[in-house]
C-alpha cells in the first residue's frame, strides 16, 4: 500500500524545519515517529505535499528533571518513558501510559511530541499532560511560545499548534512531596485505542487532605478532556470512598463519548465513572508511598 507522492526534507536544525514548514504554507507535515501519520497517508486520510522529517535534528530526545520542571524532548520515543528511572519513580502516570500506547514495537519509533501534537482523542499522552498541567513549547518563525496543554486541544486533529510551528518540548511542573499519579486504560486488546482511559495526578498535603488534583480523560470525546469539575471537587477532600465516587460521577459528566464498536455512550460514560474512581485510588495510594 503506497502513500501518495510527497516532497521529503530532512533538516538538521529546528530553524530549518520551521523555514520549510513556513514555505509550504500548511501543505507540509512534520514526520516524527510517523506511527499515526504514515497509516493515515496510506488510507489517503492525509495527503501532505511535503514531509519534514525531524529525526535528523540532534538534541530533541531527552528526559531531564530541572529545578521547577520535568522536561521531555519532543523526539523522545514513547518507549523511553517506561525505561526512565526519574519517570518510573516520580511521574509513574507517564510510565503507566507508556505501557499502554499501541505495542512495544510501535513505541520504539513513535514519539512523545507526535503523540501530543497529532490531536487524535485516542492518543494516550494528552490526557496525562492535562492531568499534570503541562505546557508545550512551540517554535515558529516568530520565535518560541509556551502553550498550556489545557488550551491545546480544540477538536479532533485540531490543536493550537500553527502549521508553521514545531512542538519541541514538554514541560511538566516538578512533582513535589506527597504527589501521586496514575493512568489506567480500558482496552479490548493490546494495541487498541482506549474504550475509556483516565489520567490522575494529585498532591496530598501534610494534614492528609488533597491539596491539588488533575484528571484527564482519553477517547471519550472529540479531544482529550480535562475533567475540571472532578479535579476541583477533589481539592480539599480527604479522598474518602464517597469523595472518589462523586469525582467519578463528575468525570463521567465531563465525558462526551461517541458510540462505536467499543460500546454505546452510556457504557463508555459508566466506564469513565468506574475507572476514574479506581485511578484516583491508585494515585492516592502512590502519594502515600504505595506501588
Amino acid at each position: 500500500m503506497y502513500p501518495p507522492n510527497f516532497e521529503y526534507y530532512a533538516p538538521k536544525t529546528v530553524q530549518e524545519a520551521i523555514g520549510l514548514l513556513d514555505q509550504h504554507q500548511g501543505e507540509a507535515k512534520v514526520l516524527a515517529g510517523g506511527q499515526s501519520l504514515i497509516g493515515m497517508m496510506k488510507l489517503r486520510l492525509a495527503q501532505p505535499a511535503a514531509l519534514i522529517d525531524i529525526n535528523r535534528i540532534p538534541d530533541l530526545a531527552y528526559i531531564r528533571e530541572e529545578e521547577a520542571a520535568l522536561v521531555i524532548g519532543a523526539l523522545t520515543r514513547t518507549a523511553e518513558l517506561g525505561r526512565s528511572d526519574v519517570i518510573r519513580g516520580r511521574y509513574p502516570i507517564l510510565s503507566d501510559a507508556s505501557a499502554e500506547i499501541a505495542d512495544p514495537t510501535v513505541r520504539n519509533w513513535g514519539t512523545v511530541g507526535g503523540n501530543l501534537s497529532h490531536g487524535d482523542p485516542g492518543n494516550d499522552l494528552p490526557a496525562c499532560m492535562l492531568a499534570l498541567g503541562a505546557e508545550y513549547r512551540a517554535e515558529g518563525p516568530k520565535g518560541a511560545r509556551m502553550i498550556p496543554a489545557r488550551q491545546f486541544y480544540q477538536d479532533s486533529f485540531v490543536t493550537a499548534l500553527q502549521s508553521n510551528e514545531v512542538l519541541t518540548q514538554v514541560r511538566i511542573p516538578r512533582a513535589g512531596p506527597g504527589t501521586g499519579s496514575a493512568y489506567s486504560k480500558m482496552e479490548r486488546k493490546v494495541g487498541d485505542f482506549a474504550t475509556a482511559a483516565v489520567a490522575v495526578q494529585l498532591k496530598v498535603g501534610k494534614g492528609g487532605s488533597i491539596d491539588a488534583a488533575g484528571i484527564g480523560l482519553t477517547n471519550v470525546g472529540p479531544t482529550a478532556i480535562f475533567a475540571a469539575a472532578a479535579s476541583e471537587f477533589l481539592t480539599g477532600k480527604t479522598g474518602s470512598d464517597s469523595d472518589l465516587k462523586r469525582a467519578g460521577e463528575l468525570a463521567a459528566d465531563a465525558s462526551r463519548p461517541f458510540p462505536d464498536n467499543r460500546g454505546p455512550v452510556e457504557f463508555k460514560k459508566d466506564m469513565v465513572r468506574v475507572w476514574t474512581r479506581r485511578t484516583i485510588a491508585h494515585a492516592l495510594g502512590r502519594a502515600k508511598g504505595g506501588p
Binding site: M1, Y2, P3, P4, N5, F6, E7, Y8, A10, L31, G34, Q35, I38, G39, K42, L51, D53, N55, A102, D103, P104, T105, V106, N108, W109, V190, G191
Partner: protein, 177 residues
C-alpha cells in the same frame, strides 16, 4: 538504478526520489528510491529480501518487523528514505552461513511456528528482547512480543522457543548444529 515497474505512481503529481545509503545485514547499498517507498517494499522488491513479510500493512501485526540500528520497528510504517545512513537487519541476517542463530534453532527445536508467516518478525522481536533482557520471565516475553501477532500457535511454543533461546545464548556455544 531505474525505477521498478512496481513503483509506477498511482497518484498524480511528479515522482519524487532520493538516493539513500543503507547497510542491510552488513552489506552496503546505494539506491535511488521514491520518497514514498516503504522500508518493507524496499527490502522485498528492490533488495529481494522477501523474508520480511507484509501481513496487515497497518502497523498492527508485526510480520514486517526488522531491526533498525538494533531496534525493532515495523517496516511497513517507515519510509525507506528514513533509514538513510542506518543499519538494518532482517531475518536473512540472523544465520551466519550454514549456522543458524540460537533463536532460529530454538524456534525449530521447540516447534515455535506452524505456517511460518509471523516467524521472521517474531524472531527479530525476540532477538531484540533478549539483547535488552537476557533472562526474561514468561510475562516479560509475552509483553515483549505483544507487537507481533501469530494466528496458529496460541503463542505457547513461541514463548518456549524464546525461553530456550535465552538458555542457549547464556551457555557457551557448542561445536555446531
Amino acid at each position: 538504478m531505474a525505477i521498478d515497474a512496481a513503483e509506477v505512481p498511482r497518484t498524480p503529481g511528479p515522482v519524487t526520489t532520493r538516493t539513500i545509503h543503507v547497510t542491510v545485514n552488513g552489506v552496503s547499498h546505494t539506491s535511488t528510491v521514491q520518497n514514498r517507498m516503504l522500508l518493507v517494499s524496499y527490502l522485498r522488491e528492490r533488495l529481494r529480501l522477501t523474508g520480511t513479510h507484509i501481513g496487515c500493512d497497518t502497523a498492527h501485526c508485526g510480520a514486517c518487523t526488522v531491526l533498525v540500528d538494533g531496534i525493532p520497528v515495523k517496516s511497513c510504517n517507515l519510509f525507506a528514505v528514513q533509514v538513510d545512513g542506518r543499519k538494518v537487519q532482517t531475518v536473512e541476517g540472523l544465520a551466519s552461513g550454514a549456522t543458524l542463530h540460537p533463536i532460529q534453532e530454538a524456534f525449530h527445536e521447540e516447534h515455535g511456528l506452524q505456517c511460518g508467516y509471523c516467524t521472521p518478525g517474531m524472531m527479530l522481536a525476540s532477538v531484540a528482547l533478549l539483547a535488552h533482557n537476557p533472562n526474561p520471565t514468561e510475562d516479560e516475553i509475552r509483553r515483549g512480543i505483544s507487537g507481533n501477532l501469530c494466528r496458529c500457535t496460541g503463542y505457547v511454543n513461541i514463548v518456549r522457543a524464546i525461553q530456550h533461546a535465552a538458555q542457549k545464548m547464556q551457555t557457551p556455544a557448542k561445536g555446531g548444529p
